[in-house]
Symmetry: C2
Subunit: 359 residues, 2 copies
């Protein structure tokens, strides 16, 4: 895997090194807003078939790159493949979201959890990573990812999406020891899984803590951040003589940026509820920041998108260490042209700005 990386803006920015223009990629850049994605999804028959067939996963991973000059590809997969490999039986029903056939509902269920071998139970992911790297041929780096143990646990216990998180929070407040047991196994599984992705060719890693923001500050520290920190400690940090940057993203975690930065990760994802200027002031030179345009800006006209992009760039200010992204995924109802306007605006508006080497 010693192909030259032609565009290394993402990796440089994540390590707070100077870049010519601010790199940009978007969460869910491969997804339902793209007609070509919907066509592939229809051919695959199910969302799980898309994820589990390396050819299809590769095809949809590359689709947004064919349209827009994005600075990274992100593996097309789902955070719930890990609990699926732990035997929970994942399916996606139309309009209903993810469902586990065997959710974790008893002490016995928790004791039955095990760490799956990534190269067997999740081999389809590793094959997809290898294939995407080959097809990318060094154009841009490939980001691998996983869900945080806490976020995975919420789905594993609730059995799918939830409105009030009654089961997982009941477990947290009533039997915290059992929840810790579950999070420990899950953290080990995620660590092995991400290291396998790195071995297969992932050049940066992002961990999605989608539901950390529903916790109290104390519970976040104890049940989410502690396991994120353990994973960061356990990850391979150099591959092919390049540092593999790690991005941690807790949605709704704006109050805890300092603590997230202190885990030893390279970059922190920031949603749109915090100004990047304030975020940067708070984390200082410790980490890079990724974000943080409100995804709903993509419903506006191109010139308004451009103005909002300019605002985010101005909020971050001069100096290295910014990866432009949304504060959450591209929404399915967005017109692809709006995404094009966003990507163009980031590159154009950041080209004239000093990127120096830090503040």
């Amino acid at each position: 895997m010693n192909d030259t990386l032609h565009n290394d803006r993402l990796l440089r920015a994540l390590l707070r090194q100077p870049v010519d223009v601010t790199p940009v990629w978007l969460m869910r850049q491969a997804g339902r807003y793209l007609p070509e994605y919907r066509a592939t999804r229809a051919r695959a028959g199910s969302f799980m078939a898309l994820c589990q067939t390396p050819d299809w996963a590769c095809e949809v991973t590359l689709q947004p790159l064919a349209r827009f000059p994005l600075d990274a590809a992100i593996l097309f997969s789902d955070i719930l493949t890990v609990p699926d490999a732990m035997g929970l039986g994942l399916t996606f029903s139309e309009g209903e979201g993810p469902q586990f056939a065997c959710p974790v509902r008893s002490v016995a269920d928790i004791h039955r959890l095990f760490v799956p071998d990534p190269e067997t139970a999740l081999r389809y992911v590793m094959d997809a990573v290898r294939l995407i790297r080959r097809e990318l041929a060094g154009r841009v780096p490939l980001i691998g990812f996983a869900g945080s143990p806490w976020t995975l646990a919420t789905y594993m216990v609730e059995g799918g999406s939830s409105k009030d998180y009654a089961r997982i929070k009941g477990l947290l407040y009533d039997q915290p020891g059992l929840l810790h047991r579950m999070l420990e196994v899950t953290a080990q599984a995620v660590t092995l899984y991400l290291n396998a992705q790195i071995a297969a060719g992932a050049q940066a890693i992002m961990i999605f803590d989608t539901w950390g923001g529903i916790l109290t500050p104390r519970a976040y520290q104890e049940f989410s951040l502690a396991y994120l920190a353990r994973i960061v400690d356990g990850l391979t940090r150099v591959a092919d003589n390049r540092r593999v940057p790690i991005i941690l993203f807790t949605k709704g975690g704006g109050a805890w940026l300092e603590a997230i930065a202190a885990t030893g990760c390279d970059a922190v994802g920031v949603d749109w509820t915090v100004d990047l200027s304030e975020a940067r002031r708070r984390v200082g030179a410790q980490v890079a920041l990724q974000g943080n345009l409100d995804p709903a800006v993509l419903y506006a006209a191109p010139e308004r998108i451009r103005a909002q992009v300019a605002q985010v760039l101005a909020d971050f200010g001069p100096g290295a260490g910014h990866v432009f992204n949304l504060g959450h995924g591209v929404q399915p109802g967005v017109e692809p042209e709006r995404v094009g306007a966003l990507v163009a605006a980031v590159h154009e508006l950041s080209a004239s700005r000093p990127t120096g080497d830090g503040v």
Copy 2:
């Protein structure tokens, strides 16, 4: 309305005056978790009939007080009665939540919005307030409430609950002037409505900004907080020779407590994602704080509930200015006995604490 108020802990705490024990009430203390509520709701036939029939609204308002030694009653109603009175046609379908027959979808719809007269279009609310005050006979104070203009606008534009707020955010980013026009009319309507509640007998006022937390810091300031501040300015602050305290609550607004406190309100609601110790440090002596137990704690065993109550009380610390509450409403699946354990724990554990007169 010159009846003596036998328990004025709530009003005193909201004004940062010393109290014997920390007052406690719970958002949605009258609601689906109570079998007697479900029985009344079944007799009423629909949620709207419950709200619109003063006898029933009074009955369910008083139900939790018959079970638990709560320190306040809160008017049983819904924040969406105001847009309903503006002609949007509110219904609640089982399991689907609120629906507007005529959501705001065009420039003409926005120009058609008007400020309803509270004593005609919302007379049923004022009648309920008067009846509840009579039935309470000064046992505890009655809290009146309304939704924030931004929160009402989200429902008015989306037509009901929303997952991604595409329409209202599209409006915000694409046609901010139109949204401002809508928020202005709505803020006037809310001000009149709350002043009518105060005239009818509401002794404290809470404004629920349920969806302020989905905004960027700038958009929150411009589209939500600015209108909250205007309402605070326009409210009657003294009735029957007593100050009528105003509580502002932006769910997910933990980052903006200082700005909320600066509106001139008397108290700020805090959800569970911020420690009260930090919240208090940030707002200082400007306002009282209301909150902030995670509602999911009510799924735990009574001794665990007690420990979490102790934590919240310890977080606030000694001194006046704390009203105990959840960080959001009581969830429907909670056993009523757990609520009893919470209320008892607040009174017992705070009885021994110094309440002085401020920090």
